[in-house]
């Protein structure tokens, strides 16, 4: 990986646009998105993506930047959100003059406070012990949320109304699109701040402690202190994400604190790629799409996500971003097109095999669970009779054939790959 790269800090493709180019492009994309995808559903999905991006980036401050695996990160997200909803209610019923855009910041502060308290004893150890502690603390707080009804609202959670605050530049945030622009601004600022953090002494030493805690100590840094600071910072930004969630959905429940949410953010960061700053962003976007769009087309979407996750951990631990970045040397030396044909030859059968596999699973699921008399499953938009053995034969055959063709094509891909990455000889290629 990375033979030579200037400023290889948090990672990122060296673009011709220069250091700020990527950020300007991102800002433009954020501004323009709603005009391209203008349906209310799309805007809702984009808002969800924004929240997930901040949440996943905050998580990666721990995992990717600091090497700390946490199973309880939802705590800071949820607590920030709960406080934000309560503030919304104070604004509504007691007339507190707090404009809505301030809310995420308040959520962030609350997350920070709890990160300081919990970090004081949980960052003493790293690695497996830290992970177990985070799990225990997460479960503790999730369980407490059922008990302390005043703050957590019990089973129904706490809800509020975002439109009751003082108007900001004339809007009362009645429309989803107004919420989008607020979210977009906050997401941009939060992401920028988190990126800048990684370039500070605290952030650089977080990387150092992650890679070689012993060495970091011998250059004068207490690994415990470094971890603690990363922990607090990530709690702050998770709280901001929680505040954004409160603004968007106007309700927080125990679900937002529990292991499911904590696990989900781990999935987003890991599938996206924890070794790159942009990784969690990609993971958040992808998983939000799967959660919102895919879930409409199949009941098995979580199973597919689970499979994707396990396969990623096993075979592509650097995540989607890592997979893309692996092509950078080939891109720079102009050898990328050489990979196109082998990828097609192996990729198409692979897609066919996957399609077949999905068909089998969907049919099986329908067969097992549909009420008596309902024999028609909907697979890829087609109506399929699950009681007809011919359909089963076709699905299985397609899967097997696709898998076989993929395996046959793999040596080709391997050969093309090693050729594209062979830098031992020809210097004139550079």
């Amino acid at each position: 990986m990375g033979i030579s790269s200037k400023d290889s800090g948090p990672g990122g493709i060296r673009s011709a646009l220069g250091p700020f180019g990527l950020w300007i492009a991102a800002a433009l994309v954020l501004a323009v998105m709603p005009t391209i995808f203008s349906s209310p559903v799309s805007v809702t999905i984009m808002n969800q993506m924004g929240i997930s991006i901040v949440f996943a980036l905050s998580y990666n401050m721990l995992l990717g930047q600091g090497g700390m695996l946490s199973f309880g990160h939802a705590v800071y997200f949820g607590l920030g959100g709960f406080l934000s909803v309560h503030v919304m209610n104070y604004v509504e019923y007691d007339g507190w003059p707090i404009p809505l855009p301030i809310l995420p910041f308040i959520g962030g502060l609350f997350g920070l406070v709890f990160a300081i308290i919990i970090g004081s004893f949980s960052t003493r150890r790293a690695g497996t012990v830290f992970a177990m502690i985070s799990l225990g603390v997460g479960e503790l707080i999730a369980a407490c949320s059922i008990i302390f009804v005043v703050f957590f609202g019990g089973e129904e959670g706490v809800s509020g109304d975002r439109t009751m605050g003082p108007p900001v530049f004339g809007t009362e945030f009645l429309k989803e699109i107004e919420v989008y622009y607020l979210t977009a601004v906050i997401v941009f600022v939060a992401a920028a701040l988190m990126y800048l953090f990684s370039l500070t002494p605290a952030g650089r030493m977080a990387n150092a402690v992650r890679d070689n805690p012993e060495r970091a100590e011998f250059v004068g840094y207490s690994q415990r202190q470094v971890r603690f600071i990363s922990f607090c910072a990530s709690g702050f930004f998770a709280g901001i994400a929680g505040g954004l969630f409160a603004i968007n959905y106007e309700i927080l429940t125990e679900e937002n604190l529990n292991l499911v949410t904590s696990g989900w953010v781990l999935l987003m960061a890991y599938i996206g790629g924890i070794g790159f700053f942009i990784g969690p962003i990609i993971g958040a976007i992808l998983l939000t799409l799967l959660q919102t769009v895919l879930s409409n087309h199949t009941e098995l979407w979580l199973l597919y996500v689970g499979l994707l996750f396990v396969l990623t951990v096993m075979f592509v631990p650097s995540g989607l971003t890592g997979l893309i970045m692996m092509h950078e040397p080939a891109l720079r030396t102009g050898r990328l097109p050489n990979l196109a044909r082998p990828y097609l030859v192996a990729g198409i059968p692979l897609l066919v095999a996957l399609a077949g596999g999905v068909a089998v699973l969907e049919m099986l699921h329908h067969f097992n669970n549909a009420p008596v008399g309902d024999t028609v499953a909907h697979v890829f938009g087609m109506a399929v009779d699950t009681h007809n053995p011919a359909n089963w034969a076709v699905a299985i055959a397609v899967t097997v054939f696709g898998a076989y063709a993929t395996v046959r094509a793999t040596p080709q891909v391997r050969e093309a790959w090693s050729e594209a990455n062979d830098f031992s000889g020809k210097a004139e290629d550079r």
């Binding site: 497996t128 992970a131 177990m132 225990g136 999935l267 979580l302 199973l303 396990v310």
Partner: protein, 315 residues
């Protein structure tokens, strides 16, 4: 009085169950340095396999074959999954086992559905063992206690008195030396992982009828097992035993002792406003707090005795 006896017995059932799970986990952790997040998932698989098998062979068939099946599944996962992921490092291993837990839950839901399964104890054991002051103690729970203790004695004997057991003990601390002596250490690892998983599966087989057989059962018990491990001290079997019983009794007594802060405050002559902001605290009752007691214990241990009750030095 009867409350104490029943709570002691019920707590013993829970504690022994926890130990059955945490002992396998500890053994695997000591040997391979991997904390298997999916360990509780094997517990769940045990219950579900037993449910299905018992449909054809009765409860006893499930009792024998389900743990074996789970052990095989565990060994295969170790051989083809965990061993492969090992090259990506410790964090990746832990994340892999987490993903596995997630995936197994989805797969269970795929094959068995989301509803709780009607997996119940055999008729042979479906009677009250004894009755004290109107409350009866089911024979099935006594059966659970007996099986747990029996398995532990068998395991202890195997570990300390057989050749295989000695090899395992050695491989835990000095895998390279054992390999140099000609033993197939990867096979030992796979075997231990398989046995550990089978143990978890067995716990599921006997707990399923008592605690319920549903897809969420792994995550519910899983977190508590990890608390047990940390409280007892990572890598310590004795610590896991003590912590399991401690937490089992702690929870059981808390649930059955229906006292609350209100009682305490009334005793002191203090009363409070029903709409007070902190009313949750004032009305806190022991049964309410029972689910979070293990986690509170975890935090206390972490603050005052971070290596656990009987912890060894960090690996």
């Amino acid at each position: 009085m009867e409350l104490v006896i029943f709570s002691l017995l019920n707590g013993l059932v829970t504690g022994l169950l926890l130990f059955m799970l945490s002992s396998g986990l500890t053994l695997i952790f000591s040997m391979m340095g991997v904390l298997n997040f999916a360990h509780a998932s094997f517990y769940m698989l045990g219950a579900y396999f037993a449910y299905t098998i018992s449909g054809y062979m009765g409860f006893w068939g499930g009792l024998i074959f389900a743990p074996l099946l789970v052990g095989v599944v565990g060994a295969l996962i170790q051989r083809y999954g965990l061993r492969y992921v090992h090259r990506w490092g410790h964090v990746a291993e832990l994340v892999f086992t987490f993903g596995l837990a997630f995936l197994i839950e989805e797969v269970v839901q795929f094959f068995w559905g989301k509803a709780t399964k009607d997996y119940h104890e055999p008729e042979l054991l479906d009677f009250p063992l004894f009755t004290l002051f109107g409350q009866s103690f089911p024979a099935y729970k006594a059966f659970m206690i007996l099986i747990s203790i029996g398995i532990f004695i068998a395991l202890l004997a195997m570990l300390t008195r057989t050749r295989v057991g000695l090899i395992i003990q050695a491989a835990i601390t000095h895998p390279n030396t054992v390999a140099n002596l000609g033993h197939n250490v990867p096979l030992v690892f796979m075997g231990v992982f398989g046995v550990g998983s089978a143990l978890a599966g067995l716990a599921g087989v006997i707990a399923g009828p008592a605690l319920g057989t549903f897809p969420g059962m792994a995550f519910v018990l899983g977190s508590i097992v990890f608390v047990v491990i940390v409280v007892g001290g990572l890598g310590s079997l004795a610590g896991a035993f003590v912590a399991s019983l401690l937490i089992g009794w702690l929870q059981t007594f808390a649930i059955s002792l229906d006292y609350s802060m209100t009682d305490l405050l009334n005793l002191l002559g203090i009363s409070f406003d029903d709409e007070h902001v902190l009313r949750d605290l004032w009305t806190l009752s022991l049964p309410q707090v029972a689910p979070i007691l293990p986690y509170l214990l975890l935090i206390l241990i972490l603050i005052f005795r971070p290596t656990g009750l009987m912890g060894k030095r960090e690996t």
